[in-house]
């Protein structure tokens, strides 16, 4: 269980990026943080594995205050997937995936077996992809490697910062579905940041809507659809439906009289 309490993050003077955030995420939950740019969702994610430090408040994982933990050790047990993919360009696919186990001092055989297992998990043939460099892969394939790398050291928690944002819609759907499957199979706790409500509705157990560094509403997709707390949430929740209607109209134009 991840618990944030009264967390604030200031970047210098001015309005804080995150203000007085209190949030609980259950074990094995798939939580999606959603909101417009500057709403504080990415900052929240970075606070969770101490890539940045909060200005106030506490964050606890399984009851342990993370500010008391060694940040390097903490990061090695939390998977992190980046928006810009963030693979190491000079390392092969296998080497990229192996990085955290290597830092943890796993044996060579353990690492090789794990890399193979992960490549298969993200549907990349180990023989074809293992020795390639990231630049020799398509965007979708690269992000599959990104997911595999984050999972390498068997973390319980996955943090994903707009992981599928830069991909074309087809690949994006496919990758989202595949990852949700992995989440369920491995019993992970996932926190994913996005600004795409369709993605949020399709993947999330719980959606946390953010604006201006604070939480506007938090609940299951159904709860948000049934009882949006204000016009902002209603507008966001409605956007997939509006798009679907426009799409339907474009595909089946009303015949001219």
């Amino acid at each position: 269980m991840i618990r944030l309490e009264g967390v604030r993050k200031d970047y210098g003077a001015g309005t804080p990026a995150v203000r007085s955030l209190t949030l609980e995420i259950q074990e094995k939950e798939f939580a999606v943080l959603i909101g417009p740019s500057g709403s504080g969702k990415s900052t929240t994610l970075l606070l969770l594995n101490r890539l940045i430090e909060p200005s106030a408040g506490t964050i606890a994982i399984d009851g342990q205050n993370i500010s008391a933990l060694d940040p390097v050790a903490l990061r090695r047990r939390i998977g992190f997937v980046f928006q810009g993919i963030g693979l190491f360009p000079h390392l092969t696919v296998s080497e990229n995936i192996a990085i955290t186990p290597r830092l943890l001092g796993w044996s060579r055989q353990e690492i090789a077996a794990r890399v193979r297992e992960l490549l298969e998990l993200v549907h990349l043939a180990p023989e074809r992809y293992g020795e390639r460099l990231p630049k020799q892969l398509s965007g979708g394939e690269q992000q599959r490697v990104g997911v595999a790398r984050a999972l390498a050291a068997r973390p319980n928690i996955m943090l994903m910062d707009e992981p599928f944002g830069a991909l074309d819609p087809l690949v994006r759907d496919e990758l989202g579905t595949d990852y949700r499957d992995i989440h369920d199979r491995l019993g992970l706790t996932t926190i994913l940041v996005t600004h795409d409500m369709t993605e949020a509705l399709l993947l999330a157990d719980r959606i946390v809507v953010m604006r201006d560094g604070g939480i506007v509403q938090s609940g299951t997709p159904q709860q948000l659809i049934d009882a949006p707390s204000d016009d902002f949430v209603r507008h966001m929740i409605d956007s997939p439906r509006r798009r679907a209607q426009r799409l339907a109209a474009a595909l089946n134009p009303i015949p001219a009289p």
């Binding site: 890539l51 390097v72 000079h90 990085i99 830092l103």
Partner: protein
């Protein structure tokens, strides 16, 4: 004749190239060992980065020759200090000053490229390194340095080419390099030597540059084969260059020579005498007057020929003129008691500083002596070698005859004679044993007030070699065996006939033995 010069150049190539490579590689490795960590720290600290780069930039603006020359007095002072404090003497001449100057010279490109490469890395990659759980040190070693490697390598390439080129300037501080071809060739108008030195240094720089370029693409393309090929190539080039040096450096006697023909010839004669006695030696040429004397005192040079008047005026700071024999005797005694240097004796000729004019001009103005010249001097131009105007002899002439010229110019000796012949200057500082005095029909002006001391050529041995009976026995036969005419002829063979000093030395040795 050209073939002879080429063969002579080839004969010394293993020594020159080996020394050049040893010096360049040592300087480059030391430079990298200092620059790389400094750049890594500087990339993270703005307050360190700016002064470090500024300092490296300043070093780069100092001319290479001056930077090399500057380390000589610095090390000399340091040597005096360490000798007093720890009884340990640092060699101020030769390898060490050249190494330090070139090390400084090599640092800027490595510093600049490493700092730029590390600071220019995509921040997302560094964040990813932290997110997967790397410590700052792991991030540096596993991610940042490998990604920066091609740019760092490019900096090392630039540094290597600079160092190999600048190493040719280490000859005047007593370090043998490919620059010996250039300095000696310029001195004796042996353009084959000059060209040979340029081509050899250029070729070496090119080969190393190509090998490092291979390493650079190896890093960029993650090609292990290229990296290994480049590494093997560099090792082979270095090893091949250094093999001829093995066993040569230690135990060999070092014979010094100043920067003119007579000195080249005499150092070759000394080497020849020693070889016959079974003492191996190496020669260090193109050393300045003061540097060579300090080197003898320190034992960096074992033997060389100096001139009594030079020691009298420059080292003993004497201005009185007790006569030729008295000067010779007092110089020998002073050298013995002050430094333990052994004066083997006069070789038999004098090579005095004299002022010389074109015969026609001297006749037209009716100038015979320095006193006559003083009256015309304010409307005349004088040319001197690089040392002359800063030597006490010149000060003595100025003071004794109230001599003031309209213009003073310094020349490389070869060009000085040309300048006089062409009428660019009216008077020059000549050496009395120089064969060119006869060749150019020069009038030597007499010195009625004895402003200049006598300059008998004397063979000096370092304090250590002064105790070496075999050494002394090998060189003693040279004393009193070379007269002025013989030396002038020998000098002319090099100056006019373009024979190599080694070749002429053989001729001279034959005559001595007769």
């Amino acid at each position: 004749m050209s073939n002879g010069a080429f063969a002579a150049a080839m004969a010394v190539l293993p020594d020159y190239l080996g020394q050049h490579v040893l010096l360049s590689v040592s300087a480059l490795l030391l430079g990298i060992a200092i620059s790389l960590p400094l750049a890594i720290v500087s990339a993270q600290s703005r307050s360190l980065r700016e002064p470090v780069l500024a300092l490296a930039n300043i070093v780069q603006t100092i001319p290479g020759l001056a930077l090399l020359a500057l380390f000589y007095p610095v090390l000399l002072a340091l040597s005096v200090f360490t000798a007093r404090a720890f009884g340990l003497r640092i060699p101020a001449l030769g390898f060490l000053p050249a190494l330090l100057a070139l090390t400084l010279y090599s640092m800027l490109p490595v510093l600049r490229n490493t700092i730029a490469a590390l600071m220019g890395l995509d921040p997302a990659v560094k964040t990813a390194a932290r997110a997967v759980g790397m410590t700052p040190r792991q991030s540096l070693l596993i991610v940042e340095l490998p990604l920066a490697a091609p740019v760092i390598m490019a900096g090392i390439r630039i540094a290597a080419v600079w160092v190999i080129g600048t190493a040719t300037l280490s000859t005047p501080v007593g370090q043998t390099s490919l620059g010996n071809y250039i300095f000696t060739g310029l001195q004796t108008e042996n353009w084959i030597f000059v060209l040979f030195g340029c081509v050899a240094a250029g070729a070496l720089a090119l080969v190393i540059d190509r090998l490092l370029a291979l390493a650079e693409t190896g890093f960029a393309q993650r090609s292990r084969a290229r990296l290994i090929a480049a590494f093997i190539g560099v090792v082979v080039v270095i090893a091949a260059s250094l093999v001829p040096l093995i066993g040569t450096a230690s135990g060999r006697a070092v014979i010094g020579a100043k920067n003119f023909e007579e000195q080249y010839i005499l150092s070759a004669v000394i080497a020849d005498q020693l070889a016959k006695a079974g003492v191996p030696s190496i020669r260090r040429s193109d050393l300045g007057s003061t540097i060579i004397f300090r080197a003898l005192v320190a034992g960096d040079v074992d033997a060389y020929v100096d001139y009594s008047g030079t020691i009298w005026a420059n080292e003993m700071h004497r201005h009185d003129m007790p006569g030729r024999a008295a000067v010779l005797q007092q110089v020998a005694r002073w050298l013995k008691t002050t430094y333990g240097i052994l004066d083997v004796g006069s070789l038999g000729f004098e090579n005095a500083y004299v002022l010389a004019m074109r015969r026609d001009k001297a006749k037209a103005l009716d100038i015979e002596t320095l006193a006559d010249l003083a009256a015309y001097a304010p409307r005349m131009k004088i040319g001197g070698d690089y040392e002359f105007f800063s030597r006490p002899e010149w000060a003595s002439i100025v003071k004794t005859y109230r001599m003031h010229f309209a213009v003073q110019r310094s020349y490389q000796p070869t060009f000085m004679y040309r300048a006089l012949s062409d009428g660019d200057v009216d008077v020059i500082s000549a050496f009395s044993s120089d064969g060119r005095i006869a060749e150019y029909h020069l009038k030597l002006l007499s010195d009625p007030k004895s402003a200049l001391p006598p300059y008998d050529a004397v063979l000096l041995l370092s304090p250590k070699r002064a105790q070496d009976a075999k050494f002394f026995a090998a060189l003693k036969p040279l004393a009193g065996r070379i007269d002025l005419t013989t030396m002038q002829r020998a000098n002319l063979m090099v100056d006019r006939d373009k024979r190599t000093p080694e070749d002429v030395a053989k001729w001279l040795v034959q005559r001595i033995r007769k």
